[in-house]
């Protein structure tokens, strides 16, 4: 590299630094620093009241927050709720997204309109859509319960978002469903399927037409073509989408909080982070809970990468 070249490169690097600095500093201060500070807080006995205490920066680290969080009497239940909610919520939104994409793929009149409509749950404000669903499912004023009562399908209104267990029996077999949790999961499917829908639809449109033609020539029926051509083509996207949705759903606070306040068996770890901090004023335990959440996500990512790695050779 000549002298002039080098100077040109230095100048370019300097310019790049100046252009990137504002964005990088914003993210460093408002994303990376809080993450690191969260680790620090999780190792300190801090209450919301003693934030101004100089002890906040003293090096007296302890695991007491983690002990408190992990040995809480209902920790197991909250963890189970979190996993059920996350896996079913992500799975449902993926399944609905896949179905929607398959149905919208191909041309028909009004397709652009339908596509726009199908994306609206995802772009509307979470406050508005949780309120309207709360209203629709309301035991007194909600249309679902009114229709059910009027037509005699229901003996009494069902409090979809405020009852932990729903007892029922089909053909004499008695069973109970975690009602509020199921309602929240269904909402999750409704609100987030557009995300999967968009990505799957874009991928579907990139599948080479030749593959279908070749399969048709070989005598594959439409369903076989889906099974042996479409699905394998979609597999990487589906996997990536499940990964994203899992991470976002497990960390989701707004939706659950706005629908049920985390009551009636819908208390997930994200709600716990909030409850510890602003219900019990225990910042340390709150940060420790966030770390647990983080640990689960890390473990999940590790397992996913392992699983995909062992499967790639064939």
């Amino acid at each position: 590299m000549g002298e002039g070249d080098k100077r040109f490169h230095d100048r370019e690097a300097g310019l790049a630094f100046r252009m990137l600095a504002p964005a990088v500093f914003t993210v460093l201060i408002l994303v990376l620093f809080p993450v690191v500070w969260n680790v620090w807080l999780s190792l300190k006995p801090v209450a919301l009241g003693d934030l101004r205490d100089p002890d906040l920066l003293r090096f007296d680290l302890t695991l007491i927050n983690f002990v408190k969080v992990l040995t809480a009497r209902d920790f197991g239940r909250v963890l189970a709720t979190t996993l059920v909610y996350t896996v079913s919520g992500s799975g449902l939104s993926l399944l609905l997204g896949l179905m929607a994409a398959l149905m919208v793929h191909g041309s028909f009149p009004g397709r652009a309109l339908v596509r726009g409509l199908l994306i609206s749950p995802y772009v509307a404000p979470v406050v508005a859509v949780t309120f309207v669903w709360g209203f629709i499912l309301d035991p007194q004023l909600g249309i679902v319960n009114w229709l059910g009562m009027e037509h005699g399908w229901l003996n009494r209104p069902i409090p979809f978002l405020s009852q932990r267990w729903f007892e029922s029996s089909i053909l004499g077999v008695r069973f109970s469903i975690p009602l509020a949790l199921v309602s929240v999961i269904l909402f999750e499917g409704w609100r987030y399927f557009p995300f999967a829908f968009l990505f799957i639809l874009a991928r579907l449109q990139a599948v080479p037409e030749d593959l279908y033609r070749a399969a048709a020539v070989d005598g594959a029926s439409p369903l076989q073509r889906f099974r042996h051509v479409t699905l394998p083509q979609l597999a990487p996207v589906l996997l990536a989408l499940f990964l994203f949705r899992f991470i976002w759903t497990i960390n989701k606070f707004d939706d659950v909080f706005l629908l049920t306040r985390g009551q009636s068996g819908t208390e997930v770890l994200a709600i716990r982070v909030y409850e510890y901090a602003f219900g019990e004023f225990d910042i340390g335990a709150s940060s420790a809970t966030a770390m647990v959440l983080f640990g689960i996500v890390a473990l999940f990512l590790l397992l996913m990468f392992r699983a995909t790695k062992t499967r790639t050779p064939d």
């Binding site: 620093f33 749950p121 009027e150």
Partner: protein, 282 residues
């Protein structure tokens, strides 16, 4: 009949009926939101399951009440302010940052492009408590400007990623010609890159607007003064007061939903292209 046409008919039936069902389930809550916002409580109580709009007697009092009372206009203004500045700052920072990553050679460039997406994976619920503590200590928490900065940090990773991708797809020759003709880098960005990138910039703007306009968690945690509430926070407060009628809450919901949906329908195609491009290679 052989398998092929049978399956064709079956699939077509499933497809059409499935699509109709899905559209109904998606559209109904929005329809019900609008309908209920025009229907007074007495009629709601009388016939809650009345599915058709009573066009003869549209009751506008909820909108009047929402807009004129409850400090709603102030809230609307706050949200517009926060969204506008989030969008402008996102555009400025992501344009320069994205351009640097896409076009300039410097050490750590590839690492930068990758870390952008890694950072995107840090969720708000992990950030909110440490940031709450930080800004409380500094005495800055209850402020719209802090909220703008927090939203900016949320929008930047994806915006940088989108613009980096887009700038890479532009032909580099035009820019070289500009540089040879004596334009500075900033001149090139201003006169050549930005005019060529209007679609990508529009989708970044829409994305940033959606985040700032819809965001609930940070607004809920950070803002204490009712005069500083954004829409999500304000409407939450409204709905929380028990005596308020559902009609009012639905009218408020319609008002906060409308701008996003309208903007989205106008620019949907661009946003979708911007978000899904590049993410689907391989």
């Amino acid at each position: 009949m052989s398998r092929e046409p049978l399956e064709q008919i079956f699939l077509k039936t499933v497809r059409v009926s499935g699509l109709v069902c899905l559209c109904l389930v998606v559209a109904f809550p929005f329809y019900w939101m609008i309908l209920s916002s025009f229907r007074p409580l007495e009629r709601m109580l009388l016939a809650p399951a009345h599915l058709l709009p009573d066009l003869g007697q549209l009751d506008l009092h909820a909108y009047k009440s929402v807009l004129l009372e409850h400090g709603f206009l102030k809230t609307l203004f706050n949200s517009a302010y926060v969204s506008l500045f989030t969008v402008l700052l996102t555009l400025a920072l992501a344009t320069f940052g994205g351009y640097a990553v896409a076009r300039l050679r410097f050490r750590g460039r590839e690492a930068m492009a990758l870390s952008v997406l890694v950072i995107y994976m840090f969720p708000a619920i992990v950030l909110v408590v440490p940031l709450y503590v930080l800004f409380s200590l500094m005495g800055l928490r209850d402020s719209l400007h802090v909220l703008i900065l927090v939203y900016l940090a949320q929008t930047l990773p994806v915006s940088l990623y989108m613009l980096d991708n887009y700038f890479r797809s532009l032909p580099v020759e035009i820019e070289s010609a500009g540089l040879v003709d004596g334009c500075t880098r900033f001149g090139v960005i201003w006169r050549i890159v930005i005019p060529l990138s209007v679609p990508a910039l529009a989708s970044v703007a829409l994305y940033a607007f959606m985040i700032a306009w819809n965001e609930f968690l940070f607004a809920f945690m950070f803002l204490d003064t009712p005069g500083k509430f954004t829409l999500s926070r304000g409407v939450f407060q409204m709905a929380d007061s028990v005596h308020l009628s559902k009609q009012l809450v639905m009218a408020a919901s319609v008002i906060i939903t409308l701008p996003v949906i309208v903007l989205f329908l106008v620019a949907e195609r661009q946003l979708v292209k911007g978000l899904t491009a590049g993410a689907l290679k391989g």
